[in-house]
Amino acid sequence: MLKELTKGIIKENPLFVQLLGVCPSLATTGSLTNALGMGAAFTMVLIGSNLIISAIKSFIPEQVRIPSYIVVIASLVTVIEMLMEAFVPDIYAALGIFIPLIVVNCIILGRAEAFASKHGLWSSLQDAVGMGIGFTLALAIIATFRELLGTGKLLGIPVLGAAYHPMLILILPAGAFITMGFVFAAVNYLRQRNEVRHG
């Protein structure tokens, strides 16, 4: 009964499997705190947009559905942006422009078009929560590598001790690309091994 929920976490993970939402996953993974903040903001917008679009799907004319989705998503993003500015100003400042840019995140529009516009409220909610968790998890994995190896800390708390010499490059832009490259390679490796075993 919860199969719509679990598919987004591993089997159809939006970042690792569908390769959507690459920009924020490079830009906001310099620290685990930012990655979790981004994941939470993203999940809230996705839950809201999936629910609203699923609820009003029969009123939207076919021809103007994409603009209507964009209006719904952009309004939700504006609400989340204001809430974050009020309650978690540090994370808001750190994520900066990437909060308004959730509007053009292809995962959210993709779920609206491919799922919420065809399914009921309950399924759409499950889908949104699953995809949200999947994306947050993917961000957290990349951020863990970058923050741990780049600063020796995790969530701002020193973990690796003073003897560890941090690889500063990992928290710089170049480190985002290289970490992402190796994480994708690992995902590919696991997937190919699985295919050999089952195929």
Binding site: I70, I97, P100, V104, L172, A174, F177, G181, N188
Partner: protein, 191 residues
């Protein structure tokens, strides 16, 4: 860094839109497999970016600021940019078929490209004047072109050599992009 030269130099090398700000990566990774597509995409991005900058600047300072509606900027920008691109595409298809053929296919793609909306928002955030906004859009488009053209040349080379199967395509492309980003880090001290 607010002089014309400063803005352009910074937009191309120091805060390169792709290699240090991570905007527009979908198109950067998606269409960079051949040089020809990269050039078409760069032209389309430059065109839309300048258009979107003009439009968003006018809307922001003529409507949103006087009526105290600044909080609606994300919503208004994305809708007006999408509408404008749609109109331009229709106009181009009818009146300039050759140009439409060269970059038309990329136009709908970049309506929802985060680089375009990103630049519109960054210009407003930094309180740029009209001339500065346009300069920034031109510089950013030049930076985008530089990154994607160099990257597509490198990627064509990556087809040949042997490497572990799991590194093919995207992972090795990302690691190549990382090397390009390291090369640009040398510029980061310049103010």
């Amino acid at each position: 860094m607010d002089s014309t030269f400063g803005i352009i130099f910074s937009a191309i090398f120091v805060t390169n839109i792709i290699l240090s700000q991570f905007l527009g990566l979908c198109s950067f990774l998606g269409v960079s497999k051949s040089l020809k597509n990269s050039l078409g995409m760069s032209a389309a991005v430059a065109f839309v970016m300048i258009l979107a900058t003009i439009l968003s600047w006018v809307i922001y300072y003529l409507f949103l600021v006087p009526y105290d509606l600044v909080y609606l900027k994300t919503l208004v920008f994305i809708l007006s940019i999408a509408t404008l691109v749609q109109l331009v595409e229709m106009f181009m298809k009818k009146n300039m078929p050759t140009l439409h053929k060269a970059m038309g296919v990329f136009l709908p793609l970049i309506t929802t490209n985060c680089a375009i909306l990103g630049i519109a928002l960054i210009n407003v955030q930094r309180d740029y004047t009209f001339a500065q906004s346009i300069t920034n859009a031109i510089g950013t488009a030049a930076g985008y072109t530089m990154a994607i053209v160099l990257f597509s040349c490198l990627r064509e080379r990556l087809e040949g050599p042997e490497m572990p199967q799991c590194m093919r395509n995207l992972p090795i492309a990302l690691i190549t992009a990382s090397c390009m980003s390291i090369a640009l880090m040398g510029m980061s001290g310049i103010h």
